[in-house]
Amino acid sequence: MRHTSKTNSENKLNAHCEGPLKTRCETSRAGQVDAASHPTKSREDMTRREFVVTAGVVGGGVALGLPHLAVAAGGWNSAVVEESAPAHIMNVQLRINGRMQSLSLDSRVTLLDALRENLKLTGSKKGCDHGQCGACTVLVNGRRINSCLALAVAHQGDEVVTVEGLARGEDLHPVQTAFIEHDGLQCGYCTPGQICSAVAMLDEAKNGAASFVTANLAKIGPAKLDDDEIRERMSGNICRCGAYPGILAAVRSVYKDGEKAEMRSGS
């Protein structure tokens, strides 16, 4: 791990201030520095340049080994001081859709942002960015997770499969085909998450995972999926278009095909 030079991190912060966060950066946070460092200067008097410079000076204290300065200075309102601290850039290796990728990332970058912004794998979607919608669902070491709540640096060496990695060449994954056949989408924004979720869900059921609607938890073994089971197990993926009947039909058809195949193979 290394610290970036302050110039880089300040540039990054400044770039943020020009964007949608402008109001927050310049009003509420500048006001906090104002209170902490310039007791006589009103918020309106403080220019943006002064704000950046002040934050840089106080931030320097942090870098010089005074880690408690920020807390002592302003308690909760010290966020602005900490925010001027340098970013921590780390090297991370991830195996994405079978290919090893080496990335240099700010420790704050989520797995979702690493996929979308650094690797241009924009199939995984950023819906709520708070683990409430499931649009960012990917498979990590074979399990479905919300990539928006996963820090990329915490997944060093992990195996990630996104919706881009499900097809085999020109052959779509059976779940993808079923979503097309059963019209399991309208706008399509939640679809990559729905599909990744369904792929993992069918595996979980095969491996005996129970759900909240499973009648007998004491009975261990592959789970039988009726419509209520599929709905409950897919409830981590929200569809604002309300394409649920199609999604349910698609998942049900893949499950039924799996059952038939198992009967044929006698397993």
């Binding site: 308690g75 909760w76 900490e82 683990g131 979720s197 909240f212 409830s235």
Partner: protein, 329 residues
């Protein structure tokens, strides 16, 4: 989110020393709550110590017939472990009632214990008042939109609720939390693990900042045959509880030998209803006894402008959970 240093540790002792003397260092496990709160600037650690590679993920039987749940076992793996499904179906149900499959695949047992309230005045720093987030600033919920808030054990400083389903079952099952600190190990009973808000709502638990959760230990249970976790929420799935009830009965024919009742969504901690339990113990499992127990379970409840409905909802939920647990509903 503010910048933070990230460090991975592979030994519990290293984790403890990493947080010693550092107010701004936090353990990172599943991250489902912490990372979310960091995005909102509610949590602002300057260093994260990733503990997910510590060997604390096992679920194993204890010599006394109980079960030890590793702090880092994922909620999904815990819910689906045969020992949990067969000996503690109440806990499996509660775990499966929480969050979504994706979140349960990430979230750990230790992290679930430490998850923070979903009170909107806490999670959104756009609200100036929150004694939990900014001690001394006041409580935005007391006079605000308090539909999801506490009816039991609240204080004028804080009426937030604990959001966990898992912890409600753990309270009913009398689990203990085994923790490691600089001075060694200690165990904290579930009843003492979470705190009521009082005048210091910023402190959620009695875990010290330099302690690491090692496991949750469940004692041998006579309740596997008769238990139920009932969760009432605004959606059929993937929503926090307005009210939840973990009910467990040890039956002797038509007679209740002992009962366990804990409520979720109603207080700053999982709310164990011991008066209600006593009402059932040694009595016939009749509607009259069940109704009397339910009345005790909400004894002392106080509603606010938007959540008074929870008092009757909680009472009826206790009745229904007991009846399902006892096989008469």
């Amino acid at each position: 989110m503010i910048p933070f240093e990230y460090q991975r540790v592979d030994q519990a002792e290293a984790a403890i020393s990493a947080v010693a003397n550092s107010q701004n260092t936090k353990f990172l496990a599943g991250g489902t709550n912490l990372v979310d709160l960091m995005k909102n600037n509610v949590e602002r650690p300057t260093r994260l110590v990733d503990i997910t590679h510590l060997p604390l993920g096992r679920i194993e039987e204890l010599p006394d017939g109980g079960v030890r749940l590793g702090a880092l076992a994922r909620n999904s793996d815990t819910a689906n472990h045969p020992l949990v499904r067969q000996k503690y179906p109440l806990l499996a149900q509660a775990l499966l009632a929480g969050a979504s499959p994706q979140l349960r695949n990430m979230a750990t047992n230790g992290g679930n214990l430490l998850q923070r309230t979903r009170c909107y005045y806490f999670t959104d720093p756009g609200f100036a008042q929150c004694n939990k987030r900014a001690p001394g600033s006041g409580c935005g919920a007391v006079e605000g939109i308090n539909r999801i808030h506490a009816i039991l054990g609240a204080s004028k400083e804080c009426i937030a609720t604990h959001p966990s389903d898992m912890c409600v079952a753990l309270a009913a099952l009398d689990a203990t939390v085994r923790v490691l600190g600089p001075k060694g190990e200690r165990s904290i009973g579930m009843a003492d693990f979470h705190r009521l808000p009082g005048k210091t709502p910023e402190v959620d638990t009695n875990l010290h900042p330099d302690e690491l959760i090692l496991s949750i230990d469940l004692p041998a249970s006579p309740y596997a045959a008769h238990s139920h976790y009932l969760k009432i929420r605004d959606r059929a799935s993937y929503a926090f509880a307005l009210v939840s009830v973990a009910a467990a009965l040890e039956m002797d024919g038509q007679q209740v030998r002992s009962a366990r009742i804990a409520l979720g969504g109603v207080a700053h901690k999982p709310w164990r209803a011991q008066e209600a339990e006593k009402t059932l113990a040694g009595k016939p499992f009749s509607t009259a006894v069940i109704e009397a127990a339910a009345k005790h379970a909400v004894g002392g409840a106080k509603g606010y402008q938007y959540n008074s409905f929870k008092i009757e909802m909680a009472r009826q939920s206790v009745v229904r959970a007991l009846k399902i647990a006892g096989g008469v509903a």
